[in-house]
């Protein structure tokens, strides 16, 4: 599928903000099934300084600063991407234990002397927003039964989160800790993506948090997906010989060609779409609109 994406964010301040610094993850990255054909970032007012680089996980990140007094800030990311569908003929008889990267929280560590890929390994460890919680392992182990295939276990976890947690935008904020989400049994896609990622890591599996978009209008005859008019988040699991498998607990499905990947990391903190600090400015208000339109 080809998509034309437009992600607009407006900030309005009640008072003049003399300076702001921003770090954004808005450019769709290249993946095995995704190509980014065009990308541009429009910023108003014009930044005094702008630069881009690849971050630790190979995501494209951009930094800019606005250094003249401003009362509003508009950031528009436009791109066109090409996403191919998942290979449906996934081998599904790999037991999940064979995919374990790290022996988990409660057990003694990885044996010193064994070679390990560090970029891979750190995705099996807790991260700032996904701390090691006993509850995660308790929850996950009901899906990760001994010798179950990795795909079966994943699908089971996906279904359970979808059914046992209620989508509720008012229940949590961007900073609600994971343990509270577990207590509330409510949240939004960011919470569910963190939850799924944390569950996998508690079993010693490598998992990453994926930030991206969903197509805005569903294919004919299919229902509109939750989270389609804002940025979305889901989880990606390392499945040994199958490689990385993306799944979306918010919508209870595998992430197919309706999903556009922007960036991945250990958790939301690594790939936050717009991260900024400013001085002054009083109160501020934010408006976001996302449009992911299929092309042709």
């Amino acid at each position: 599928m080809k998509y034309q994406i437009s992600h607009k964010t407006w900030y309005e301040y009640s008072e003049l903000a003399p300076v702001c610094h921003n770090l954004v993850h808005l450019a769709p990255r290249e993946t095995a099934s995704q190509k980014c054909n065009a990308y541009r970032l429009l910023i108003d007012p014009k930044p005094a300084f702008f630069t881009g680089r690849e971050d630790y996980f190979g995501n494209h990140t951009e930094y800019f600063s606005i250094e003249s007094g401003h009362r509003k800030l508009e950031i528009i990311a436009e791109s066109t991407v090409d996403v191919s569908n998942l290979d449906d003929s996934m081998v599904s008889d790999v037991p999940w234990q064979d995919c374990v990267v790290h022996s988990g929280d409660q057990v003694n560590g990885h044996p010193v002397g064994a070679a390990i890929d560090p970029t891979h390994a750190q995705l099996a460890f807790p991260s700032p927003r996904i701390p090691p919680l006993v509850e995660l392992r308790e929850y996950a182990s009901k899906s990760f039964l001994p010798n179950r295939s990795i795909v079966q276990a994943l699908v089971d976890l996906n279904v359970r989160i979808h059914h046992e947690f209620k989508f509720d935008p008012r229940a949590t904020t961007v900073d609600t800790p994971l343990w509270e989400v577990l207590n509330l049994r409510r949240g939004v896609c960011q919470d569910f993506a963190h939850l799924a990622t944390g569950c996998l890591r508690s079993m010693g599996l490598a998992a990453r948090y994926v930030s991206g978009y969903l197509r805005t209008t569903p294919p004919p005859g299919k229902p509109r997906l939750v989270g389609a008019d804002a940025s979305h988040a889901w989880c990606s699991a390392w499945c040994g010989p199958l490689g990385w498998v993306d799944f979306d607990p918010t919508n209870n499905c595998l992430a197919g060609d309706s999903y556009v990947t922007i960036a991945w990391g250990r958790d939301y903190g690594d790939v936050c779409p717009i991260q900024g600090v400013f001085v002054g400015g009083g109160d501020h208000r934010i408006t976001v609109s996302v449009d992911v339109a299929p092309l042709g």
Binding site: Q106, G109, A121, Q190, V277
Partner: protein, 868 residues
């Protein structure tokens, strides 16, 4: 796995040193008891001095104990008075100098130091290579040399510190410090590594200055290695680190906020090395470069010598550590526009978990063993090590594996206090979170407890700075001593003292100086516009508080004098005015003004002194003095030593003598305080260069004085009796204008004449008009070169204040007042009293960058998937 290598024999026999050594009179050490079970730094056997100490004692041969004590007291006094790093402000423990100096040095032979020095260089090199790897290619984890936990569970491992391939070969550890311990077998061991900011070198230097002055004869005779060459190397290193080096890089010491333990050390180093001292709020990133906010605008910074921990450098990239730091700083570093030493992230390897792996890392990376072993350490995350540790819990110290600099020691103490069973259970639930370290009995040395010698246990902090391809080691260090054998991490600030460490030279010692004679003509500089706006603000408030303290002291003195006079209290007409003003200024309860209530309150003779010395209420005189001292301490790197000495003395002296809260004591103390405030004022007017620092200080003083005088007039003239001769004389007394008045008018007191002298006479340096003339001159100077149609607000306001006073017809409003119509006078005094605080606000808005708290762009609406 580390083997236990510490095989010291522990004996419990205490050996008293005989009165005389075989060769010389060791009177100085008489009565010193060797520490049991430890290596003794001074004696190799009872009565047998180690060679280095023989030299020291020979140098000190002529020193009697009395003379030694005398010099020691003098040194203590000097340290207290002059020292930048010494503060005993009672309001904050953190401000205290952490380590008091001991009067005896730790003497180390040249030969021994060679080994120590080489080992430190090796260790610093190793730690730097480990850092480069973990924030770079991470081969050590990939190859299984380091367990992934060491990084990925480590709270100090932050992705923004990872470096792009093009900079992975540059050094990360510019400054390194190690805490050494000498085991009973006489070998030095590394107890802990300090890689985050390697602080303490300033304290070592300060100790050296004090002790080499106290024992100058001994110091010269012993040929002690100087510390200056090390600091020259530090300066060279920092200058070389500057990107786009044009020969005159701006180097700034980034301190933790004033009030942190290291602040005074930083101020001291800034002065000694000639760098600017800044806090995060003084810095700003613009167009991807780092700047210091000064009065003249933004001034480019090339190198930052940093004190705060890495995760507090940039709130943009490290979003979970609050608002500390300078947004955009890490990107500026990444772009190569500013260098930070140590490189952000460097503190990672000082955590206990790394100590367990250093022997293996040395073999792997350097291909050689560590030449100075670290105290044996086991990481419980390794199953074998864990069971070994659990078997020997009594002999080991358990530490949190990921402990970082600045974290409270309470966690370690808690572990130390746990029962064996509870500790074992805790380790078993999450073994990877703990390391075990062998207990070592530190070496013993004599410490001077004022009158006698006391055996103490020594830990030596040593310092290294990057130099060429390797490191250069400071010959000496900061020796810390304690009477307990517990590891020093447990009692870092608690009743500890420090010693200067003397490394004996092998040959003659060269004299070097940090003062360099630069080639070519120095470009002449004047005016000091690169004063940071924070320092300008502190000077302004220092000026205000110093005058406020003076005005308050005089008011209290005037009241106290009258209350202690022979006159019947109710026959002193001006007393009610004074009491009312004291009440208005919050010095006494308002009830004292009303006679009926006064009788039910504790007597004012008791109340007033108690209130004056009270630290609590911010208006109290003592609290004003404290605030003045705090403000001065934040700018003392910019103050003359004499000014600081006066202020320190004020802080020490203006306290009630034990148990004495009487009126007479109060009068004594207030007289002394006023003399000190006058001395400080003299120092300002006679010795301070007319830079912006002076200008803001003086502006603060003028503004406050005008305000105090307007308040005084308002208070004294609030009722008709205010124009009675006694009241008028009191006003003149408080403004030091009695003499002038008498020389003009004799003993006839009239309101008009008094008001003219106090309000309008521009030749009287105590008049309101005089203060305003000076204020106008200051703001005019600050606005030189400012263009535009409108006068800047500060200039406008100061000008119209002066105009108001100049246009006042004092004769007319005095007559009206005496005739019972006080409106005109009240209006005038109210106008002045209201406009002055406005002027102060305008000045602070205009000149002081208010580092407004930063905010984050984040909102519920931006949360992925938050909208349905």
């Amino acid at each position: 796995m580390c083997e236990l290598q510490n095989g010291g024999i522990i004996s419990s026999v205490r050996t008293r040193v005989p009165a005389t050594d075989t060769s010389l009179d060791a009177e100085l050490l008489r009565g010193y008891e060797l520490a049991p079970g430890a290596y003794d730094e001074v004696f190799s056997a009872p009565g047998v001095l180690r060679p280095a100490w023989k030299l020291f004692l020979k140098g000190a041969e002529k020193l009697t104990r009395t003379e030694y004590m005398h010099r020691w007291e003098q040194a203590q006094r000097l340290l207290r008075q002059n020292s930048l790093t010494y503060s005993d402000l009672s309001d904050s423990v953190a401000r205290r100098r952490p380590w008091e100096l001991d009067g005896l040095p730790l003497v180390i032979s040249a030969e021994e130091w060679r080994t120590v020095s080489a080992s430190l260089q090796q260790r610093a090199t190793l730690l730097d290579l480990v850092l480069r790897d973990v924030f770079g290619p991470q081969r050590l984890v990939r190859d299984g040399v380091l367990p992934p936990e060491a990084l990925f569970r480590h709270p100090g491992y932050r992705l923004p510190f990872c470096r792009p391939p093009e900079s992975q070969n540059s050094r990360m550890l510019q400054f390194y410090a190690a805490d050494l311990t000498r085991a009973p077998d006489g070998r030095w061991w590394v107890q802990a590594d300090r890689c985050e900011s390697a602080s303490g070198a300033g304290f070592a230097l300060e100790n050296r200055i004090a002790l080499s002055r106290m024992l100058s004869d001994v110091f010269r005779q012993c040929r002690v290695e100087r510390l200056a060459p090390y600091f020259i190397a530090v300066k060279e290193l920092l200058a070389k680190l500057a990107p786009h080096n044009d020969g005159d890089p701006r180097i700034v010491i980034l301190s933790q906020a004033a009030g942190s333990t290291n602040y005074f050390e930083d101020a001291f180093l800034a002065r000694y090395l000639g760098y600017t001292l800044a806090e995060a709020g003084d810095l700003a990133v613009r167009r991807n470069r780092l700047y210091l906010k000064t009065l003249a605008g933004l001034s480019l910074v090339n190198v930052l010598l940093r004190r705060p921990n890495s995760e507090h450098l940039d709130p943009l990239e490290i979003a979970d550590s609050g608002s500390a730091g300078t947004a955009g700083l890490l990107q500026a570093v990444r772009s190569g526009n500013v260098t930070i030493a140590n490189t952000p992230g460097s503190g990672l390897v000082e955590s206990p978990i790394f100590r367990a792996f250093l022997p293996r890392l040395a073999e792997k990376i350097l291909g050689e063993p560590l030449s100075m072993p670290g105290v044996a350490t086991w990481w419980c995350g390794e199953p074998q090590a864990c069971s070994y540790v659990l078997e020997r819990l009594d002999e080991l110290i358990i530490l949190p594996a990921y402990r970082r600099r600045g974290e409270p020691v309470s966690q370690i103490s808690r572990l130390a206090d746990m029962s064996r069973k509870a500790l074992a259970a805790l380790i078993q639930t999450s073994p990877g979170n703990f390391v075990a370290q062998e207990k070592i009995v530190r070496s013993g040395a004599p410490a001077w407890s004022g009158t006698q010698l006391q055996p103490c246990y020594v830990a030596l902090r040593t310092f290294a700075a990057a130099h060429g391809d390797g490191y250069t080691v400071m010959p000496g260090g900061l020796a810390r001593i304690s009477t307990s054998t517990a590891p020093l991490e447990l009692s870092l600030l608690d009743g500890e003292r420090s010693k200067d460490a003397w490394v004996l030279a092998e040959g003659p010692v060269e004299h070097v100086s940090l003062l360099t004679a630069s080639e070519g003509d120095l470009p002449l500089r004047r005016g000091g516009v690169d004063l940071s706006s924070r320092a300008a603000e502190h000077f302004f408030w220092l000026g205000r508080q110093s005058v406020r303290a003076e005005a308050l002291a005089k008011l209290i003195r005037s009241a106290a004098r009258r209350l202690t006079s022979e006159e019947q209290v109710d026959r002193i007409p001006e007393l009610p005015h004074l009491l009312r003003m004291l009440a208005e200024q919050g010095q006494i309860e308002p009830g004292y003004v009303v006679e009926e209530i006064r009788k039910q309150l504790p007597s004012i003779e008791k109340q007033l002194p108690t209130a004056a010395f009270d630290e609590g209420p911010p208006n109290a005189l003592r609290a004003t003095v404290t605030s003045l001292v705090s403000l001065a301490s934040t700018v003392r790197d910019l103050m003359s030593l004499d000014s600081w000495r006066i202020i320190r003395q004020m802080n020490d002296d203006f306290r009630p003598a034990a148990g004495r809260h009487g009126f007479l004591d109060l009068l004594d103390k207030i007289d002394a305080l006023l003399v000190q405030l006058a001395a400080y004022a003299g120092e300002i007017s006679e010795s301070m260069t007319r830079t912006y620092a002076w200008r803001f200080l003086d502006l603060g003083r003028r503004l406050e004085r005008a305000l105090q005088e307007a308040q005084l007039l308002r208070g004294m003239l609030s009722t008709d009796s205010g124009s009675e001769p006694e009241s008028l004389e009191t006003m003149l007394e408080m403004l030091d204008s009695v003499m002038t008045y008498r020389s003009r008018y004799g003993s006839r007191f009239q309101l008009g004449a008094v008001l003219d002298l106090m309000l309008c006479d521009e030749t009287n340096p105590r008049s309101v008009a005089y203060q305003l003339v000076e204020c106008v001159a200051h703001v005019d100077h600050l606005n030189v070169g400012v263009q535009g149609d409108h006068k800047p607000a500060d200039q406008g306001l100061a000008g119209s204040l002066l105009q108001t006073v100049r246009e006042t017809d004092v004769v007319r409003i005095s007559r009206q007042f005496e005739a019972g119509d006080s409106d005109a006078l009240n209006d005038l005094l109210n106008t002045i009293g209201n406009m002055l605080p406005d002027l102060s606000d305008v000045i602070s808005h205009r000149y002081f960058f208010h580092s407004a708290p930063i905010q984050r762009l984040a909102d519920i609406e931006s949360k992925p998937g938050a909208r349905k």
